[in-house]
């Protein structure tokens, strides 16, 4: 078991490292390809002419004159050990590990921006994930047990519709109904869970529903097909032949096996969504990681894009690692 976890952990670290190298290289390539001075992407304000001594000084200060590996090491050591940000004019800003640099456009440390946005994304993704898992698995299981019945047809028809409806459609409709028409949720501005749980819940409930709606539909279809396959297995027949109650057969013997592959997909979905719920955040005016990255892209704010990318990659790798460990516990056949 320990060996299994160790191997997976080493694998996870390697993947994150590769992602950091690749993103770093891509963002190095951007200034080259667009013939723009990297200082511009870094600070956003370059009042100096190309070739002027002031610009060269800035390049030197930010290390753009160093060889590539040295620049990468500078970036990596910032993440690992922290660094001090200075533009040579203002007072130097200490930036402790993990330091993703400084956004001169927003005049804040990238780490601070991410820390502010991450709870929003986490609240949104995890809350929605719980909703869609419960909803999807329930609908899928019920459909699978009575294939071709009215319940099955309603469930599967509904999920087909839900899969086809984008969030920028369901989101505004929900807002229209609950906020504007019924007036049940007059103020949906975000408040952190730690400060005002009630307001946090009010602000999250509609985003959760609209995000979960889409995924619940996918999970319902997935659960249904897995469950139907599992219920045809020989060990289900054995369970029935023992005289077990139908509920025990379905839940203990059927669902446990049918959900195993769903765990994998669930982990990947949650990991991916943490950095990419852009549409939901935009529709509901939430300042999460997705919103942060869109804003950074629009402003060509390289340090922020780089930081969000690495954080999103870490979230995905971490989710996968957790899934692997959980999987090893669920399925005793997985070699440990």
């Amino acid at each position: 078991m320990i060996r299994f976890i160790a191997i997976r952990l080493i694998g996870a670290v390697v993947v994150v490292w590769i992602v950091s190298v690749v993103t770093f290289l891509i963002f190095q390539a951007v200034p080259l390809l667009s013939h723009t001075n990297p200082v511009y992407f870094y600070t956003g304000k370059v009042p100096f002419k190309p070739g002027s001594p002031q610009l060269l000084a800035l390049e030197h200060r930010f290390g753009f004159d160093l060889p590539l590996y040295a620049q990468y090491w500078h970036y990596l050591s910032g993440i690992l050990f922290g660094q001090t940000i200075t533009d040579g004019v203002s007072t130097p800003i200490p930036c402790s590990a993990p330091c993703f640099g400084y956004s001169f456009r927003q005049n804040e440390l990238v780490g601070t921006l991410i820390l502010r946005a991450a709870p929003v994304s986490l609240s949104l993704t995890i809350g929605a994930a719980i909703l869609w898992l419960i909803g999807g698995v329930t609908v899928g299981t019920v459909s699978a047990l009575k294939p071709r019945s009215a319940i099955d047809r309603i469930g599967m028809g509904g999920s087909l519709a839900a899969v086809s409806l984008p969030i920028f459609f369901t989101g505004p409709i929900l807002l229209l109904i609950f906020e504007y028409t019924l007036g049940w949720l007059p103020d949906v501005s975000y408040a952190p869970l730690t400060q005002d749980p009630a307001q946090w819940l009010r602000s999250m409930i509609l985003p959760w529903i609209s995000l979960a709606f889409l995924f619940a539909a996918l999970y319902a279809r997935l659960t249904r097909s897995n469950m139907m396959e599992t219920m045809g297995e020989d060990y289900i027949r054995t369970a029935r032949a023992k005289g077990l109650a139908p509920r025990t057969v379905v839940v203990k013997h059927g669902l446990r096996a049918a959900l195993t592959p769903i765990v994998t997909i669930f982990g990947i979905d949650v990991g991916t969504l943490i950095g990419s719920t852009v549409i939901t955040e935009t529709v509901f005016n939430l300042r999460g990681l997705g919103y942060l990255s869109i804003q950074a892209i629009n402003q060509q704010d390289l340090p922020v894009i780089l930081g969000v990318t690495v954080v999103a990659a870490v979230a995905l790798v971490l989710a996968n690692f957790v899934v692997d460990v959980i999987y090893a516990f669920i399925d005793p056949r997985v070699a440990l």
Binding site: Y235, A241, G243
Partner: protein, 355 residues
């Protein structure tokens, strides 16, 4: 049985008679292509302490018959008619709830592939204990104790340690032993073994068949052994029922059926088998063609498209009239239009010399 017998909804009861008596059992499945008559009018009896072999090729309806005895088709689209008298109570009209009481405690079943028949995520011990606790209100510890006893009884070494192993950690033979322990833990009066040794090696098969016979002696259970292997039948069974196309085509005591088989299909089975105990003389005599579709069962005798002897019957009765299962000796019944005297003649002159 009390639970079923005392239940007013459980239909008629009929005291006396053999322990298990199946009368005119039919299992039909409506499908998009038509009605699949998997089992079409099968009758047989088994007493406690007896082993009945049901022989047939794939699609002959032997496994469906077994599952119908356990009521496993309840809740599906299958149409089941006829009677299954178990200890005087008819199981065909019984509700799913009543059948649940019967499964595992009165009738237990073991299956062909012990690996796929055991849940991969639960330990062997958990699955056996579970079977015990469904029908007995006992603590987890008592169930464990009983399961370990049962594992020891079926010959699993270090049973208390292996209780916590998962199915994939057992060998094929050990898994089937565990399945038998699970089936017998509530001391059922009827054990149905559906191809219990087909997936196993021949030396392991010998062990498992011996175990089934030993357990039969210990519990005085009735046993139904479903197999395609006539050798297994000869080794293990007291009575044999030969199935073809969802119907019983011949049945009788095992010695008589092997000594004086009378149905051309049984002849075909015997002469198409290579014999390990014979010096090779001639080619095998296969049955031409392939088994019938269960949707469009041949008119007349179900075996007529593959039968070499239909010209021994006057006119075209083999192709127009469905033959009845008729006694040829007190306990031996055959479904064939050929005159019994002529059948015996064919056996002596044309079949036996080539066996």
């Amino acid at each position: 049985m009390t639970s079923v017998a005392s239940d007013p909804r459980a239909a008629s009861s009929r005291p006396g008679g053999p322990f298990l008596s199946v009368e005119d059992l039919r299992v039909h499945f409506p499908t998009d292509d038509g009605l699949v008559k998997s089992v079409d009018g099968v009758s047989f009896e088994v007493d406690r302490g007896q082993i009945l072999g049901i022989v047939g090729e794939s699609g002959s309806g032997k496994s469906v018959t077994a599952q119908a005895l356990l009521g496993l088709h309840k809740g599906s689209k299958a149409r089941i008619t006829g009677h299954i008298w178990l200890d005087g109570v008819d199981l065909v009209p019984a509700s799913e709830n009543d059948m649940r009481e019967v499964r595992g405690s009165e009738i237990a079943m073991i299956f062909q592939d012990p690996l796929s028949s055991l849940h991969p995520f639960y330990t062997i011990g958990d699955q056996i204990s579970e079977a015990y606790r469904v029908h007995n209100k006992v603590s987890a510890r008592d169930a464990r104790k009983r399961s370990v006893e049962m594992l020891e009884k079926v010959g699993i070494p270090n049973a208390s340690r292996r209780y916590d192993d998962y199915p994939h950690q057992f060998s094929g033979g050990m898994r089937q032993r565990a399945m038998i322990a699970m089936a017998l833990i509530c001391e059922p009066k009827l054990l149905i073994a559906d191809e219990p040794t087909t997936a196993l090696d021949v030396t392991v098969q010998a062990q498992i068949l011996q175990l089934i016979k030993d357990m039969r002696n210990e519990l005085n259970s009735a046993v139904i052994l479903i197999t395609h292997d006539l050798g297994v039948v000869a080794e293990t069974c007291d009575q044999v029922l030969v199935m073809y196309g969802g119907q019983c085509v011949e049945k009788g005591p095992v010695e008589e059926l092997f000594d004086k088989p009378e149905m051309p299909y049984t002849w075909g089975l015997l002469s198409s088998m290579p014999r390990m105990d014979r010096v090779r003389q001639t080619r095998l005599t296969p049955i031409p063609g392939s088994p019938p579709s269960l949707i469009q069962v041949p008119k007349g005798c179900v075996f007529n498209p593959r039968c070499r002897f239909s010209d021994r019957v006057e006119g075209d009765r083999c192709f127009t009239v469905h033959p009845d299962l008729l006694p040829t000796s007190p306990r031996h019944e055959v479904r064939c239009h050929i005159d019994p005297e002529e059948r015996r003649q064919i056996l002596l002159t044309e079949i036996r010399p080539n066996l």
